[in-house]
Amino acid sequence: MKINKQAKREAKQLFRFCLVNGLLDENRVRNVVQHLVATGRRDCPAILAHFRRLVRLEIVRRTATVESAAPLPPDLRASIEAGLKRRYGPGLSTAFAQRPALIGGMRIQVGSDVFDGSVRAGLEALEKSF
């Protein structure tokens, strides 16, 4: 689907309307979508597509994925969450997952930022150096 500049601009305005104190408000998002669908505008699908993309990027940006080779103890989890909140601010949702393929260590991804201290990453770097 081709999205023109006008649709992008309107989607961006609607997305800004959905932010409350820099955080995405789910209710506002829902209302905006319902309102757009109710208007029946011709460019509604384009605006919704771009709006959806913006919302998805925001959700990803505000979600931290913590992967570790072994299960993390609760105190360490709390420490990691505190560190992430200090760095990215409040409203960040954190998901913990166990991934044995990492061999050892931990990998944290927040949006496009990646903190990889796993043994797997070290070995991959070593393999690339060859």
Partner: protein, 188 residues
């Protein structure tokens, strides 16, 4: 008429001879008849004159003509011989010139062939050197490629072996230490 005169003269001579000395007697003994002898001499002379006039002179003339022709032929032969010698000399000269020119051409051709051979040899040597250089470069490139491939493969095997071994070696304390290092990176 001449014959009658001659016969009369002969008769008179014969009559006088009968009346003469020993010569006449010998002639009578041998049966010589002067008139007949004179007649025979006369007829012989006439025959001789006729023969000289109608046979001997034409034959001499013909022989003279033949002699002249032969002389002419000999002169022509001499001339032809001289011309032949001259022609032979000219031919020899032309042949000598042609031989000299041919020798010169052959020498020039040899020189040109030697020059072309040198040029072709130089070209062949240059081409061979180029081929050798390219071959060396290709071999070096292939060597580097194989070395890099080997390095990659060794690295892969090392990483694989390390990955297999490391998972078994790491203790829970090690895992915690590694996780804490990453947490410190986030907190900084």
């Amino acid at each position: 008429m001449i014959m009658n005169v001659l016969l009369l003269l002969m008769t008179q001579v014969t009559t006088q001879a009968v009346d003469s000395g020993p010569v006449e007697r010998i002639a009578t003994t041998f049966g010589v008849s002067w008139p007949q002898l004179l007649a025979q001499v006369a007829s012989f002379c006439i025959v001789c004159i006729i023969l000289y006039r109608f046979a001997y002179r034409p034959v001499l003339k013909m022989l003279d003509v033949r002699r002249q022709q032969i002389a002419q032929g000999l002169a022509n032969a001499e001339q032809i011989k001289a011309e032949l010698a001259k022609t032979e000399a000219q031919r020899q000269e032309v042949m000598a010139r042609a031989n000299a020119q041919a020798d010169k051409l052959i020498e020039e051709a040899r020189a040109a062939a030697a020059r072309v051979r040198q040029q072709e040899t130089a070209k062949a040597i240059a081409a061979a050197e180029q081929i050798m250089i390219k071959g060396r470069e290709a071999a070096a490139q292939e060597h580097d490629h194989m070395l890099a491939e080997l390095k990659r493969e060794v690295g892969r095997l090392v990483v694989q072996a390390t990955a297999t071994v490391t998972g078994k070696i790491l203790t829970p304390e090690d895992q915690r230490r590694l996780a804490e290092e990453t947490a410190k990176q986030v907190a900084e």
